[in-house]
Symmetry: none
DNA sequence: AATGAATGAGTCTTCATTCAT
DNA sequence: TATGAATGAAGACTCATTCAT
């Protein structure tokens, strides 16, 4: 049907379609035909651009990883020196992003398939998790230097910051109660940032 | 070959086997035969106890959900009145539990398959998430009454408490770096509890 | 349950059950368990009496064949000398018998399975068809000698006499219209006998 | 191997293959692979044209039903006004047709499977049996008007006419004695038509 | 570049049959 | 005799992948 359209955009269109299909049906549950249909192509055409279903998944994860962390890195880099303010921006940005099913699909798919595709798990670890940890560590370093953050274990910080975002994402997508719209994302994002930042604050020692 | 062995234990043995198989191979990737082999049975025998592969998954989720939340509820109930102390116990307990692959398999499988099996998502929401939220809300209520917690949005509290645990679980299972043993679970659990509790503390208002 | 009942009757009870099950579900569609359930026994018990499912079918056909043709032979033998009258009795008897699903099940099962079990087809041919043909031939002979029947080809006579009965059976069982009770069996039986007997009558040559 | 051959003819080719396979092996006994092999295709290809094995059976019955009754109706329509002559043509035609295994397969399969597939039984009743009854009733009406047939019950007529054909078919296919070629079909067909027509003749009342 | 017919390996599921009790 | 748990072979059906056009 709609043939004549920037043919060099095909791979990206197919990845968009794959994102939609995998996100909706799961990787195992989505057939190549589902991806093709969503891309407005025939089954066979997908193989002109991707070697196999698994290659499609890998390419998808790669693209998504780049996008997400890249955006976060840009945000952090362009946001001045105030560590607390930057972290709050970052947390709010992530919470809002992850409320969007198009974005949340990525980590969901990875979580779902990582067990079966160690290569993907390992790629994601280095391309996203490690990078995110580095980004966060930099921020904490800065905050500690500025005297606003306690010098907590970076592993703890990562879990503390990423976790609430992730749960928020799950609760607003897979486990969304159809009869319950859920709290307003912006308010929630701020509330979560409040708790985390409060948790990181230097004021008074935390544990007894 | 070896027939007739504690036949009343069969369903539970099969569920154990299914947990192992699904956790390792994913639900879609595990064949009934994989489950059967792990249970020391033949393919056909599984069908004497469970109607279908999907029924097996549902039964598994049901059993796991009961176990996990039940344990948490017991812990909370038996832990005295000090809300902060109880919450810390709970968080540490969860962090330690979730470092155990046998336990973490449950939420991992659910997250992975929830998209494809709305029934499971909805069951898990009411049987685990809602229950956990209620448990946590009770604790916060108590803490607020005791003057130790801020009266924060319960939705925020849930995300704030469950999130770090979940990320911790993912990082210590699916995304575990084989070459890197990771931080000591107990220390980490305490560190996470510190951040969260500090985040919830009543002392000073959170955001600027 | 009902255990203590002439145990030597078991095989017959099982055959009754098999008749019901095969007739309802077809031979391929009926499981041994269906037969067992109808006989009030366990699956395994059936194998104490019959070697295999196929053996069960063969035994069933054998028993049914004996019954039906035996009855017809007795009727013919005990019915005096008037060939026309005897044939009419026989035809009416068959039509009535075949309206009964318990009886019609036999030929239906045989017709359905004969293709797959040549042994059964061949047994049925010799045990039922050939015997029926002989019985009929004897009657025709007598009728010809008495001057009441034309001396028609015996193969034609068999087809002419058995056919209407068979179609009647099919129309009143498998193809029965649930909303339509169908004609009264007795009236129909007589009508059919009329046509056939008229067709066999000696009076005038048949077609030009 | 040999791909892309008159692809529009595929469904019909597959139905031909199914007819052969079902007729030889029975519906339950024939594997999809048997059908595929006979059509010169692979297992999977059959599913490109038919949803399921049962759908294949239904399509087959539908096609066969159309063919057979259609042919009979055409014959009856094109055969002039003499009712007796037309009926004789029809009976002879049917007898000859049914001696051909390709044709006889249809009713045999239907009889065999009708019990298990009520939908098929009901379709066959309306698409074949009812139509045949209507065709025959029209002929009898005409014959009665012409004074050549007795005004007999149409249900009796149907059984009287169709029955001998059906038995003839069974005896020349499923119950065929391999060592016995059987009577010549044409002579037999004429003999049967003689008996039936004689049975229907108006001359003298039939039974006392 | 694109199609879509075709393939065939792979999986769930069923069920005749066996056997320890 | 009788049970019913267990087996394993077999078959319907799916779908990733190929390839002639």
């Amino acid at each position: 049907m709609r043939r004549t359209r920037r043919p060099e955009a095909r791979p990206d269109e197919i990845l968009d379609a794959a994102l939609a299909a995998f996100s909706e049906l799961g990787f195992a549950g989505a057939r190549i035909e589902d991806v093709a249909a969503r891309a407005g192509l025939s089954k066979g055409a997908v193989y002109l651009y991707f070697e196999s279903k698994e290659a499609l998944l890998k390419a998808l994860v790669r693209r998504l990883a780049d996008r997400v962390v890249g955006a976060a890195e840009n945000l952090a880099a362009s946001d001045g020196v105030d560590a607390e303010k930057t972290l709050r921006s970052l947390l709010t940005y992530m919470a809002l992003q992850l409320s969007n099913p198009r974005v949340s699909a990525a980590p969901r798919i990875v979580i779902a398939e990582a067990q079966r595709f160690p290569e993907i798990a390992s790629y994601y670890r280095s391309a996203v998790i490690d990078r995110a940890e580095r980004l966060l560590a930099g921020l904490i370093d800065r905050g500690v230097a500025q005297g606003v953050f306690r010098d907590i274990d970076r592993a703890v910080a990562l879990r503390g910051c990423a976790g609430p975002m992730l749960v928020h994402m799950l609760l607003s997508t897979v486990f969304k109660d159809p009869g319950n719209p859920g709290p307003d994302p912006e308010i929630l994002a701020n509330g979560i940032a409040d708790v985390i930042l409060n948790g990181l604050k230097a004021k008074d020692g935390a544990s007894p």
